[in-house]
């Protein structure tokens, strides 16, 4: 199975990097439709030293996530959340961790909160994590932001309070000091 994924991912990367216009556009669709199980392989390329392949693999990861987060695909979204959460919590390179955190803010629900909460304590990732939690509408995300306030530096506390405040804003009054 891994070999199948590897070959498919290789084709996608090659098409995105050096294919003609048609192949590049087609790769966007095919790349997005990769199942969440392909995430570790894509992440490995993303962690590599070849900057072109790394960037391209990052784009594939984005496409996979957004495809999984489409309407009516709850199981795929949950599976993708699980895979991204693993990337956040392991010893991945910083750029990959930041990407996974950012994507969790779009695809993740309450199940993404534990992984993101831990990142609130890491100076390298805490601002990205609080922004991702800000986007997740679940009560668990709000609780995580509130809980982190008492454990954070005065400077980061302001950022957490900003996120909590922004979550409450409504379109009809945003931009106005009431």
């Amino acid at each position: 199975m891994d070999t199948d994924f590897s070959q498919k991912i290789e084709r996608i990367l090659n098409d995105m990097i050096q294919g003609d216009d048609t192949a590049k556009l087609q790769a966007n669709t095919v790349g997005g439709e990769l199942p969440s199980e392909a995430t570790p392989i894509v992440a490995e390329v993303c962690s590599g030293d070849d900057r072109v392949r790394s960037k391209t693999a990052g784009e594939v990861l984005k496409m996979m996530t957004h495809h999984a987060a489409r309407p009516g695909a709850k199981v795929e979204a949950r599976n993708m959340t699980g895979e991204l959460s693993k990337l956040v919590n392991n010893h991945s390179p910083k750029n990959l961790r930041l990407l996974a955190i950012d994507l969790l803010g779009y695809v993740g629900g309450a199940e993404a909160v534990p992984a993101l909460s831990k990142q609130l304590m890491d100076p390298d990732t805490q601002d990205a994590a609080r922004m991702a939690l800000e986007r997740i509408p679940s009560r668990a995300a709000e609780t995580a932001l509130k809980t982190a306030i008492s454990k954070s530096s005065p400077e980061f506390r302001k950022s957490l309070e900003l996120s909590l405040s922004h979550r409450k804003m409504e379109f009809k009054t945003v931009g106005v000091k009431l």
């Binding site: 997005g32 489409r70 601002d127 986007r135 302001k158 009809k172 931009g175 106005v176």
Partner: protein, 427 residues
Amino acid sequence: MTTSRKFSRREMIGKTAMAFAIPYFVPSEVIGWKGRTGANDKIIIGNIGVGGMGINHVASDSAAICDVDDGHMANAAKRVTQGTPFLTKDFRRILDRKDIDAVMIATPDHWHAVMTVMACQAGKHVYCEKPTSRTIEEGRAMVNAARYYDRTVQIGAQGRSTSSGRAIADYVLNGMIGKVNRVDVWHVLNFSTTDWGDPQPVPASLDWNMWLGPAKWVDYNPIRCFFNFRWFMDFGAGFIRDRGMHAFSIVSWAMGNDQYKGVVTCEATGERKTVGCYNVPDTMSVTWTFQNPDWTLTWGQPGNPPSQNPQGWGAIYHGDKGELLQFGGDGGCDTQPKAKDFKVPPGGKEVAVSNDHRDNWLNAIRTHTKPIMDVEIGYHVVTLCILGNIAWTLGRKVTYDFTRETFINDEEAKRMLRGEYRAPWQI
């Protein structure tokens, strides 16, 4: 200048309280009336962001200049020949000044909403360069602030103050090419680079932290600024939100779409960048479909440019009785002679006339009327640009409801209605 406004603080409170249907009290400091003086019509202006487009807004009598780059500020200060302008790298010091009535904002996009909202809260009228905002929520915040604090906010889509832009609108609105069922906008590709944008020392002349402001932190590299912020999704988001806003401004005018409150679908494709630090798409193809009246708008990079202007950008209006070309859409907007020579017949539709975007704004302030590119129209137009980028990012068709100001049946897209902010900045 402010004494020329014909309403009292009490009237204003009553008016805005009705608008929001919530009882409240607004201290005079909040709405900027306290300490504001001036019995004549002269409007005292401060400039915020004076590199790039902003330098063109610096008049000989500018009262204050703000820029985070020393070089920009010094260059702009040379333009002021009447008096000595107040110079600062922190725009809040301009907002603090009670003697300044209005500000012209020409910073990168990620500052537009925060500055406009704060300026309105400080009682300043605003001329804000296009694109209106980064996100849909920011556009709404700008409209709310303008209305609540009763400030005049003009968006710098200067095509609305050109005779050709007006000619296009009058020509199409009066049915000269029949019923228009499709408008195709074409544009050259987004820029590319092989530079990876690795961190570099910040020049002493630049306040990088303030340049970033509300945006997510990224380490400095000159490839990110000043002009090239356009090729990053978190900052300029590509030509579609840059010149696209200009082009769509004229299209929206000509199609009578400024007040459209229906549903629009949007789908997009585009090649992803695989080299260098930019992350907007290389190519882009976007389609918006409107209902009642039914028509389609497309954005193509490169699209299908007409032979008359293969290297530039513009729009082709396809009507059932003919076609019309729009070249550009900004202050250099042009069109075909048949539209320029067209005279609106008695009883025909005629759009408002503005021959100078800045003067139109100043006049709107004085007469307490809406400017030609009022912030609410700017919000509507930039929403189209933002929808295109969201559809491309998600890789699927999205459906947006202009009345409810949200996406239909797409939770992930809804999360893209708003952005995040770096403390202490907020809208």
